[in-house]
Structures are given as C-alpha cells and as structure tokens.
Subunit: 117 residues, 2 copies
Amino acid sequence: MTIASDLIRGHTDTIILARLMGEDNYGYEINKSIQQKTDGKYELKEATLYTAFRRLEGAGCISSYWGDEQTGARRRYYKITDKGRDTYATLIEEWASAKSMIDKLIEAQDISLERKG
Amino acid sequence: MTIASDLIRGHTDTIILARLMGEDNYGYEINKSIQQKTDGKYELKEATLYTAFRRLEGAGCISSYWGDEQTGARRRYYKITDKGRDTYATLIEEWASAKSMIDKLIEAQDISLERKG
DNA sequence: CAATATACATTGACAGGCGAGGTATATTGT
DNA sequence: ACAATATACCTCGCCTGTCAATGTATATTG
C-alpha cells in the first residue's frame, strides 16, 4: 500500500457511492475498479469493503440483490438509492470544503511572510 | 463543527507540525490559530490536541518545555525536531498524492463517458 | 488434482477522535 | 467580595472505522 489508510479514512463511503452512480455493481468488481483507477496504488481491504456495504445499506444509501449468474461464484449487486445520491452530493461538497481547509492548514507557517501580511 | 472529523482524521499530526515549522508554540495558541485560519469552521478538540502532542513527542517529532511566564496559566511549548521536519515533508507529499487519488476516485462513474474513453 | 482466481462474509484487535470531567491562574463585571 | 469567564493544562473511557486472520464455495489452469 502506497497511501496511508488514515488519509483515505472517511472517504470510503464516498468512493463506493461514486462507483455506483453509473450502474449497479458488485463488491469484488468495485474493488478491482478502484485498483485500476489508482494504478494499483490503492485498494479497499475486503473487511473494510464489506463493512462499508453493511453501513451504507443500513443507512439506506444502497440496496442489494443477488445476481443471476449461471456459473462462477455468486455475486451480490449493489444499487444506489435516492438517499444515496443525496448523500453522495453532500459528501462531494464536504470533500471540496475539507480539501481547501486542509491545504490552508498544512502549509508551513512562515513567520516572515506572516508578519508581512 | 462544519466539517466531518473523519475527513480530517489522519491530518491532525500534519496540521500541528505545520503550525510548528515557523516557531515554537503552545497548545492553546496552536488551536486558536487553527480556528482563525479556518474562520471558525474547524478546531481540534482538546482531547484530540493533547493526545496528538503525546503521540508526536513519543515519536520524536516534537519536544516540549515549560514557558517562563511570570503571570497567567502555565504554558507548555512545543518545538519541532529534525525528525519532525522530515516527517512533515513526507506527510505533505502523501497528502498531495492522496488528494489527487481521492479526486479521481470520487468522481461519479459516468458510463457513457467511460465507454467513449 | 493442487494451485489460483473469483466472490462472498465475520470476528476480534487496534488506533484515533472526543465527550465528560478535572486542575489552576488571571481578569472582568457587579 | 465574589461570581463568571478566559486562559491553559490534562486524563479516562467510549465509539467508530480499518484490517489481519480466518472461513465458505465455485471455476479455471497447469
């Protein structure tokens, strides 16, 4: 893992909801797409992934159903709900706000610049 | 609190180290400066703040000493160490990388655009 | 027929954030 | 004189999210 998990912590739900905005998908594939998008730099651990699905379903942000594959392992598909879309929109806004706030806060404190205003 | 704490989680140490890059400072004042920088949108809870100081000191990123105020409440000042500066630099890089990664991951999955390449 | 990939799931430990509570000093208002 | 507020420090114990470890079942590949 290249990126510290604590930096992503809090974005897991947003990342999953984003993956479901286009079309329904199942856990294993969602995680693969995350690995692809980040060129292997990041992946959700399975325990984290499935915990998040339970949490999001409990909150009414997603619903789930079993796929009807005739072969291979069974797949549980997830669908984003209207509440999930609302939540996603809110989370995106919060991210934009948090991002600029963190940027402002982690700049090194330069006293000379500070004094010059 | 305007911003969900989990979005900041993982940045607490970076924020504190950044505040100490310019000059030594004490806890209460550090937190005030965070509130000012964010126009009151964010502050570290005291328990979080002092936990972080212990953690950073334990890790050798900061050292501390008591101020010599002749009046008012006592102040424990913190000074960033060489290791702290190295750590800070690393954390800043990680943030840049995490930021672009999250941006990539939380974009809504648009199938039509996806197919067009 | 063993190894690997796909695909799901749970348990228990761990770490960070924080509400609640505590200590002590100085100033301000009445 | 005295209460309230501001400054300034600190700890305990709960809560939540992450994740290593472990387990299940099916299909493919060497």
